[in-house]
Symmetry: C2
């Protein structure tokens, strides 16, 4: 089964635990709507790619870790779209959760997805040692002091260091994706952290570039939000050309950090391919 | 050390993991403010009381489970106070988190507390088997389909069954408190579920009674909110006198369900004492 199908199956398996006749129907619908239909699934695909590169001795746990990471990412999008944050009405060309279900259910759907992510790990882990390892990796990536919750919270501080902000808001969950992929394959997780961190920083820079120069229709969401909201961004700090160069350097550093493993060559090729997809079409040609 | 000090110490220990120089200062302050100074700490006290009644072979894990349960309870209060839910400006006589720090940080503080609760279990569990057991008990009590997130979500449905709503919104985390206390002591968790569920239902009925007839100053929060918000409540369904009788019956059923254990008598006495504290002063005399 290819990675995309494995991820969708793993997410559906996670949801089978959260639903049922006792679940408030609108909560179940809001939670599903936050996760399906699929977005890029970039974090879980990185997780599975690293698990495969390491030898992948347990696909079930790699799938579950990938799904939990995606659930946490989706939860953060739901809360980040709320009126008190980005106040976004659309995402992936569809109404955001609060636009479709109201703010209260959007807050609860995000909460429910966070809990489900941790429950899902519990169900899937074969050894309790593995469970503790994955929980530590993934918990660190989403909570305070340095995870995505902290990253979003930097937007509420009077002064922000851009690198610090990006590291917490985006790079942390990418770093968990590579670390969890390695851990799911029984490899040492820590040496895989730098790859994920660099890919996450690159992804955030690409997001800033798309927000500054992208096309709303191509992206399926409004553009120019960072400038409108006065948020720190790489294009604001380095200009568009400087941001593109920064992105290229981050991807290169990530690739160079890949530890020795059976599938290192395939992994490098996959990351190069993904990196070219990150930029709007005109800039992608330039970057390549 | 008495239970109250153990709980405060365990909560501080949990926080030591979430804070540090890399944490956005206002997020750290909002999260602390949601948990300290202490409220009644009724759920963690129940957890520790059951652990003690079962023999308590590992106080550190009982303390950690109690703290995680309280963190999740505090998270639910922060989100429940938001303008899109109860729109409450004060709690325990102090400004609510969104009133003090803004809505965005209130959403994030709640998210951060949920993550911290799961991280805290990971840190404390001595055996991985114990970790999986506690994660399952506590995850079930807070997520969909039947935990407190689902309970709050019933407020967003067009029709609500009162028993179902109370079971998810309040009883679920009380049931986790008794189950986790037993599990922390190495006892079988499931037979302790009914005690927690009944105490939780009783607590919710008491809350409805206080909301209907209590004194805002005595409670430290506004009263009459259920009626004002058109929310289902026990006093609306049964009247005040009927609600008091229902509360007494629930406490009795809970006490009768206590499994055989070394400290059953002390536990019964403690629960009777707690139950008399649940009602406003005039009604408490009546109930006794």
């Amino acid at each position: 089964m290819d990675a995309v199908n494995r991820i969708e199956n793993a997410l559906n398996l996670a949801f089978s635990r959260a639903e049922g006749p006792s679940c408030p129907p609108r909560l179940a619908a809001a939670m599903r709507s936050a996760v399906f239909p699929r977005g890029a699934r970039i974090r879980p695909r990185i997780c599975l790619a690293v698990a495969a590169a390491c030898g992948e001795d347990d696909p079930a746990i790699a799938d579950a870790a990938a799904a939990s990471i995606e659930l946490l990412h989706c939860a953060s999008l739901v809360h980040d779209d709320l009126p008190c944050f980005d106040d976004a009405d659309t995402r992936r060309g569809r109404p955001t959760i609060h636009a479709a279900y109201g703010e209260a259910l959007a807050v609860l759907a995000g909460d429910g997805l966070i809990v489900l992510a941790f429950q899902n790990l519990t169900r899937a882990a074969r050894s309790p040692h593995q469970l503790a390892g994955l929980l530590n990796i993934i918990g660190y990536a989403v909570g305070a002091p340095s995870g995505i919750v902290a990253g979003q919270a930097w937007e509420c501080e009077p002064t922000v260091d851009l690198a610090h902000y990006h590291r917490a808001k985006t790079a942390s969950l990418f770093a968990a994706s590579t670390e969890a992929g390695a851990a799911a394959s029984g490899a040492e997780a820590r040496p895989w952290r730098l790859l994920g961190a660099r890919l996450g920083e690159a992804y955030q820079v690409a997001d800033d570039i798309r927000d500054a120069v992208g096309n709303a229709q191509e992206l399926g969401k409004p553009v120019g939000r960072d400038a409108a909201l006065g948020r720190p961004s790489a294009t604001q700090e380095f200009g568009v050309q400087g941001a593109v160069e920064r992105l290229e350097r981050l991807v290169r550093e990530g690739i160079e950090s890949i530890p020795l493993c059976p599938g290192a060559n395939d992994l490098r090729a996959l990351i190069m391919l993904e990196a070219t997809r990150l930029l709007p079409k005109g800039l992608a040609r330039h970057a390549a």
